[in-house]
Amino acid sequence: MTSEKVVVGVSNLPNQRYKIVSENGGIFTMMVCGESGLGKTTFVNTLFQTTLKHADPQQRRHQPIKRTVEIDVLRAVLEEKNFSLRVNVIDTPGFGDNVNNNKSWQTIVDFIDEQHDSYMRQEQQPHRDVRFDLRVHAVLYFIRPTGHGLKPLDIETMKRISTRANLIPVIAKSDTLTAKELQEFKLRIRQVVEAQEIRIFTPPLDESEVPDPAVMEHARQLIESMPFAVVGSEAKFDNGQGSVVPARKYPWGLVEVENDSHCDFRKLRSLLLRTNLLDLVLSTEELHFEAYRKLRLEGSGASDDQSVPARAPARKLSHNPQFKEEENALKKYFTDQVKAEEQRFRQWEQNIVNERIRLNGDLEEVQAKVKKLEEQVRSLQLRKH
């Protein structure tokens, strides 16, 4: 930047870029997933510091107790310093609530795939200016703070999600675990995640990409404290040092959400929003979407003509294995029923036939008797004459 050199203005490119980005705004789609009652809604509200979503107990009252997994999409625009971020929060109420939770991850996995698919098809259209993009950039999987380990349902679900999106496991309601318990719990989860080959999202640690040692150190810290133990709260309390902070007030103390010695909330927020938001978006684009696209195009390219865009997988209700199972059960019930009824009818028929044979026999007997009598009459008449 010496005065002798002529400044052409190329160095302004980053600024131009900055302007474009800040005008266009950003988009971030986050999915929260986990059993009910783990504080997903509260966490979302705590994360964005507004009541995006109301915990609505009234709604639950009218629902049947057996539930199906649903997908709830919530859209919001967050503005901060003239920059607007469009946030989509996807909730999965009903996950893990039933007695039989087999295949309940299917809805979630299908949803993620569907977003990839829809985006891919929009890309293949001739006009592709307006894109509807709901590809999931990050999935927060909430783990129940049992202090034991991961349940098979957690493992199966996380395995499936991790191949499709950036997975971030989170220990919910971590204020029920003491420091020692939490440490053990984290260790076990990490071991399971490693042994089961579940890929969780980690901030890039490549030295060529991240030149700043401070950033590196931060990233390393983040990785070390995975899975994040979080506490959420919408209420704010005075922490005794003059500032009002989001916290949970217990008779035995105040759990500060943004206190690093109480929970990992700040680290998680940093990972999600402050430092690694772009990493999340990019890795979704480059890694997961590309993988999906490749799979789709390769899969259909083998059988179809190359020029024809890949067909969407026929994701009808009948493709959900859960429904299939139910269908089969119903079918079986139906055939059993039909068989039973048929058997009964056959029985009836047999009875009727038997009855007929018996009656016929009777009839013949009677006829024979009549004949005999007639004969007698005739013989008597003959004798008379």
Partner: protein, 546 residues
């Protein structure tokens, strides 16, 4: 109360069942309740280091009484193995026999005493009344993908205890050392979701309440602030009301109970469901605490936890009440139901209608559950046309041929049962005493007492046999799978070895031909590379080679 005196002589038996999702604090609760270390935590091999409680003595160590799992192995003591964590653990029920020595009238005072060490040693044992305390605990509930398995296992266990008592009662010659293992009270641990009951909670409590008093308990209540806890309690009670869950209610009878009891029960009813929190950790003065960075909780503090009240209810104020309800209400109902079905069946059979049993099965009676869970597992009652509905025919032979729909195995079992019973009945008939004329009721009664124990035993044996067979099949399957796995791995290894050997040959040949590069340099790098490849992408190598 004829049983009181006998109870004193033989010691009082008391059984408690702890059920709930894994990770809701059953283990810690048991340890805290008895103030000693009974159970180890999950994955921990040793029980937490708590000082021994001199009043509590383990008579019989923890043993598995019933289990069911996909791989045919009980899993409650499984070691932590990250690579196998995705297997469903199934369900296991264990039973631990303990002896609590304490004066019976001091029971309540002991329970209400705060747990400081000084008061524990006071009762040096002049008035030593012993409770043989049976602690039954479930493992694995809520950890499976499909948890319906657990329900049948747990209710099956409870029913079996009833059956044993029933069989013993109706036996002519009784076993003097018979142990009553009926569960008097079940504590159901509700996970602290803050959202009310889940399908599983409702279902489980409903099922349990047929056989025992169910006390719903909010475990790990330290996840709620004071207001949240009050709200959650209200929601839970609301749900219990709404889904008609027959949990134990602290009811009052203003005419019979004295004022004190009425007040106490009303207070307890207000408090329900009890919220508890447990801990292994003690502070310097011997109190159990949970230590957090933001504060300490004394788990006996009645402002935040109902643990003390609950202890008092379990061992003090409602101790006898639980036993009485189990004996006089739940067991009586069960007994009446069971005996009426069994005796009906006997009488019907004598009149020649052997098929009555099948048609009577899907009634309210508990045979239904026996049939669905036990010996008639595979035979759906739908598959068999109910015989009573078929039009009456003059030919009774066609009926018995018509019912040949059921699978041969089941028919064999039911026939064997029938045969066994017919034999018994014939014996009874042939004996001159029982066939005294003019007393049909008496002979029926006699039949009941003669047959019921055998029928029950027979049923139980058959059910057990089937379950064992199932478990065996499952474990065989599991083994098969593991063998296949191992074989596959062995094949992989062999393949890799062959690859490596070939490479070795190749590289040595190349090094021979071109002496510029030393073989020792190329070989390790290449094999290393190959190794990595084969780790990730064995299939492609195979396809490439073939």
């Amino acid at each position: 109360m004829h049983g009181r005196k006998k109870d004193h002589k033989r010691g009082i038996t008391y059984s408690m069942l702890l059920v709930g999702d894994s990770g809701t604090g059953k283990t810690s609760f048991a340890n805290n309740l008895l103030e000693t270390a009974i159970f180890p935590h999950k994955y921990a091999m040793e029980v937490p280091g708590l000082p021994e409680n001199p009043r509590v003595k383990v008579v019989k160590p923890t043993m598995v009484v019933s289990y069911n799992s996909k791989n045919g192995i009980p899993s409650h003591m499984a070691q932590f193995d990250p690579a196998r964590e995705h297997f469903e653990p199934g369900v296991t029920i264990t039973s631990t026999s303990l002896e609590i020595s304490t004066g019976s009238e001091k029971l309540s005072s002991r329970a209400s005493m705060s747990s400081d060490g000084s008061s524990m040693t006071q009762n040096g044992g002049v008035d030593t009344d012993k409770i043989s305390f049976n602690l039954v605990k479930s493992y694995g509930l809520g950890e499976n993908l499909d948890n319906s398995l657990c329900f049948d296992e747990i209710t099956g266990f409870l029913e079996q205890q009833f059956d044993q008592v029933l069989a013993e009662e109706t036996r002519i010659k009784r076993n003097p050392r018979f142990e009553d293992t009926r569960v008097h009270v079940a504590l159901y641990f509700i996970p602290p979701t803050g959202h009310g009951l889940r399908e599983m909670d409702v279902e489980m409590m409903k099922r349990l309440s047929r056989f025992t008093n169910v006390l719903p308990i909010i475990s790990r209540a330290d996840s709620f602030s004071t207001e949240e806890l009050a709200k959650f309690k209200a929601t839970v009670m609301d749900d219990i009301e709404r889904f008609n869950v027959p949990v134990y209610k602290f009811e009052v009878d203003p005419e019979e109970d004295d004022l004190e009891t009425v007040e106490e029960n009303q207070a307890l009813a207000m408090l329900q469901p009890f919220a508890v929190m447990c801990s292994d950790e003690r502070n310097d003065s011997g109190q159990f605490i949970r230590r957090y960075p933001w504060g300490e909780i004394n788990i006996d503090d009645s402002d935040v936890s109902d643990l003390r009240v609950l202890k008092n209810v379990l061992f003090g104020s409602h101790f006898q009440e639980f036993k009485d309800t189990t004996q006089n209400f739940l067991y009586e109902n069960y007994r009446a139901e069971k005996l009426s079905t069994v005796s009906d069946w006997d009488v019907d059979k004598e009149s020649g209608d052997v098929n009555k049993r099948n048609s009577a099965a899907p009634s309210l009676s508990n045979f239904a559950s026996l049939i669905t869970t036990g010996q008639f597992k595979s035979s759906n009652s739908l598959a068999m046309p109910p015989q009573s509905e078929t039009p009456s025919t003059p030919d009774s032979k066609t009926i018995s041929h018509g019912s040949g729909m059921e699978s041969p195995a089941i028919r064999q079992i039911s026939q064997s049962i029938r045969r066994g019973n017919e034999e018994i009945i014939n014996n009874i008939k042939s004996s001159p005493r029982s066939s005294a004329p003019g007393s049909p009721d008496k002979s029926k009664l006699r039949n009941i007492s003669e047959t019921v124990p055998y029928v029950l035993k027979h049923e139980r044996i058959i059910a057990k046999q089937q379950k064992l067979e199932e478990l065996e099949a499952q474990s065989a399957k599991e083994l098969q799978k593991r063998i296949q796995d191992l074989e596959k791995r062995a094949a992989d290894l062999k393949l890799r070895e062959r690859l490596l050997r070939q490479q070795h040959l190749n590289s040595s040949s190349t090094s021979l031909s071109s002496r510029t590069t030393s073989a020792s340099q190329t070989l390790p790098t290449q094999t290393k590379l190959k190794k990595e490849e084969s780790m990730t992408d064995l299939a492609s190598i195979v396809s490439g080679r073939v």
